[in-house]
Symmetry: C2
Subunit: 453 residues, 2 copies
């Protein structure tokens, strides 16, 4: 039996293992889930060993551990470095989930559960592919190293130090990351551009303590009003970001690239439906694909202050807070973007309040070549598994590790995603389309075969 | 022994009873405290019976019960209706309290605890005063009815229906409300004007569900941005409210009243210190006393949306919320103010979002006469107990019951407050200045004596 047939014959097993993975609530941003993080890392190591990797271990970091594995059966052939993450987003708001987030539930062709698409399901295609090689040919046709981190959803603070410290362990010819999406279930895509991110928290302080709004309202500036005014001042009426200097390092899109992006199939009504809005918003001179993939953006991801429980409390609060993230494109830099917004927020803050701005995390934007040998192998693998040529796209999310691989290991990354645009990432009812899971396993098998030559 | 000497001799007992009262966490806005509300009502009824009231009972309402008591020893003399509330504000944020909110703690001359000043301590002066009459003269010198509600901190939804239903039970010549503050510990004050309130909640909906800000940021309007812009649009740069028509029914302050308000002792530095701010804010043409007592105000009392836990989540949220209250002055009306803000919020909302506005509660502003016989008795009582003439002031808080007494029972209200401006009402570390408690008891005793003639 060849590896592809083996994988097809053992799809039920691959599904059962993924469901086991999804039952572990490995939420990296919430301290109470630390034991679950350790459990997820140990489970993943055990599966890598079972898949045939002669070396697989849980390696400590300053934060959540990294799961590392290697199998180098063919010294003369290329080595791929597979990256993925076993941590997941928080599941809240829980009341909007139709199935329990950590009890994977199959509805039709979809598997619902937190982390199903981002990133456990996509990561696990690689484990399953290697197992298929082991069970049929005894070993994969190329050399493989795995780097699975547990802090992607909290900004990967330990990843760069780990890469810098373990360059030899991670030496490879190309990196492969399956943590993205394709166009639709019949149309694969390869992402060659990713936005970066700069994430921060703002604290606005008005009075030193909470006040009674009856006694002080009208004579003390409410920090919620001040913060609201500052947030209102971050965009103009067209959705363009008003931070001075913000667009200075944004690389213009050349006509050829815009033409390429315009060829990506795009159904405006379907997009509106998926987004759950009646109309789009943002820079009028750019298409929606450009706005979300090739242009920077700024979003308040959270805001809070004062009394937010049911009922009424007449408080004039001392403090108001916001979490803000900026999506960056080449050649913007996270720290520089932070410096600009910090400066701007302090400049536009009324004198009646004080403002503190804290950098939480960041990642560089990235663009990779479309004509390398691994990229060509990936194109052929997708075409064989999906029966359609992959389309080259840019995407709005951030995978900071790509810039890190380039910088520290000198390698490019193939973004071999298998998710779909309606997978509800970072939202209630996250799901993974199961045919994509199985085609993903086939794509990985074929990619290794094509790369081996 | 006369009642005053009795009260002085039994101050330790009065303090112990108040501490017992404060230990009951009677938070009316939080469902889990319903048993505590019932406990507080029953405790208060028992104390009224012990103070000599021949009738005292816990009367059900659609919400929390009302404690009613009456003692009419002198059919020919005036009847006073004492109003107070046994419910308290929520205690959050708990981490800012220096002592446990429901474990009354004496530090120097102050008694710390939620409800100590607002309103258990002030309410209890009346219970103690009646007990002093009972133990010395056998009965108070006037007729007394007590109306103690348990929903003041949640907008008194059951109070107006109760008053309308029980007009005969509540028939009186004047109402007395001790739920306010004086100038400082040596300078009593009588409030003759109170602001009303109109309290509402706003929900702004952008996308139907939460989205990944990486995938959609830049092309979907974030409801937090929309809400912030709307809030920013509620005031101009001078702190004047920009809602069209909002000031139309605001009665102008005449020069004589402004002159009276200007005579109120006001230490700007002390006020800034108390408010915990470095500078005041608001309408430049009005003094701070006018801004907080005689002019309307609008405050966002709470705002929330998106991810508000520790750490970072890259969500573009579906919804953003705000609780907003407007403080009203004669002749503004809560429902009309709500109608105006609802209309304005919908008018300024961007088309990319939908807006729902919900009325939570309201109360009319009120002004009472300064030359009635009960008012003159109150002035003499304060002067005797504090050794200083009370000053006539207007205040920013709301006691909607005053308008209700006027409308339903045809009586005016004497606002006989004993709190201090730094009592931290509705905030952590609420306290009651104990000398005010004891002078309050004396003021109530003397008021009843002067009113009896």
């Amino acid at each position: 039996m060849n590896p592809l047939d083996y994988a097809r014959a053992h799809s039920a097993e691959a599904l059962a293992e993924l469901e086991e993975f999804l039952r572990i609530p490995s939420i990296s941003t919430q301290a109470e889930h630390k034991p679950d993080m350790e459990r997820a890392a140990g489970w993943l190591r055990d599966q890598l060993l079972a898949a045939g990797f002669p070396r697989a271990e849980v390696m400590p970091t300053a934060g959540h551990p990294i799961v590392y594995a290697e199998w180098q059966p063919h010294p003369g052939r290329p080595t791929i470095l597979v990256y993925g993450h076993y941590d997941v987003q928080p599941a809240d708001p829980l009341d909007l989930w139709r199935t329990p987030p950590f009890e994977p539930t199959r509805i039709g062709d979809d598997l619902f559960g937190r982390g199903s698409s981002d990133d456990k399901g996509q990561l696990y295609t690689h484990v399953t592919a290697v197992k298929a090689f082991k069970e049929t040919l005894g070993a994969p046709p190329v050399n493989i190293r795995c780097l699975f981190e547990g802090e992607e959803e909290s900004g990967s603070p330990s990843l760069a130090p780990f890469i810098q410290k373990h360059k030899e362990l991670l030496a490879a010819d190309v990196a492969v990351v399956s943590d993205g999406q394709i166009i639709d279930k019949e149309t694969p895509a390869i992402v060659y551009g990713l936005r970066g991110i700069s994430y921060l928290e703002v604290k606005v302080t008005g009075p030193a303590g909470d006040l009674h709004s009856g006694g002080y309202g009208g004579a003390v500036h409410n920090p919620i009003h001040a913060l609201s005014t500052m947030i209102a001042g971050l965009h103009d009426a067209n959705g363009r970001i008003t931070i001075p200097g913000f667009y200075d390092s944004v690389r213009d899109l050349d006509p050829q690239e815009r033409a390429g992006l315009a060829r990506i199939p795009f159904d405006r009504d379907a997009w509106l439906q998926q987004a759950g809005v009646s109309q789009a918003w943002g820079e009028p001179d750019y298409s929606i694909i450009e706005r979300t993939g090739a242009r920077p953006a700024l979003d308040v991801n959270g805001i809070w202050g004062g009394y937010i429980e049911p009922g009424a409390k007449t408080v004039l609060p001392s403090k108001a807070y916001a979490k803000i993230s900026m999506r960056l494109v080449p050649d913007q830099e996270p720290q520089e973007a932070f410096r600009l917004i910090e400066q701007h927020l302090k400049a536009i803050a009324p004198k009646t309040v004080s403002v503190e701005v804290q950098y939480l995390h960041g990642g560089n934007p990235a663009i990779v070549r479309r004509d390398s040998a691994p990229m060509k192998a990936a194109v052929r693998a997708y075409a064989a598994a999906f029966g359609a040529e992959p389309i080259f796209v840019r995407t709005g999310g951030s995978i900071p590790v790509i810039a890190e691989f380039q910088k520290e290991l000198g390698i490019e990354t193939i973004l071999m995603g298998f998710g779909l645009p309606d997978d509800n990432l970072h939202a209630p009812n996250e799901k993974f389309h199961l045919p994509n899971y199985f085609r993903g396993i086939e794509t990985v098998i074929r990619f290794q075969e094509f790369l081996a030559g």
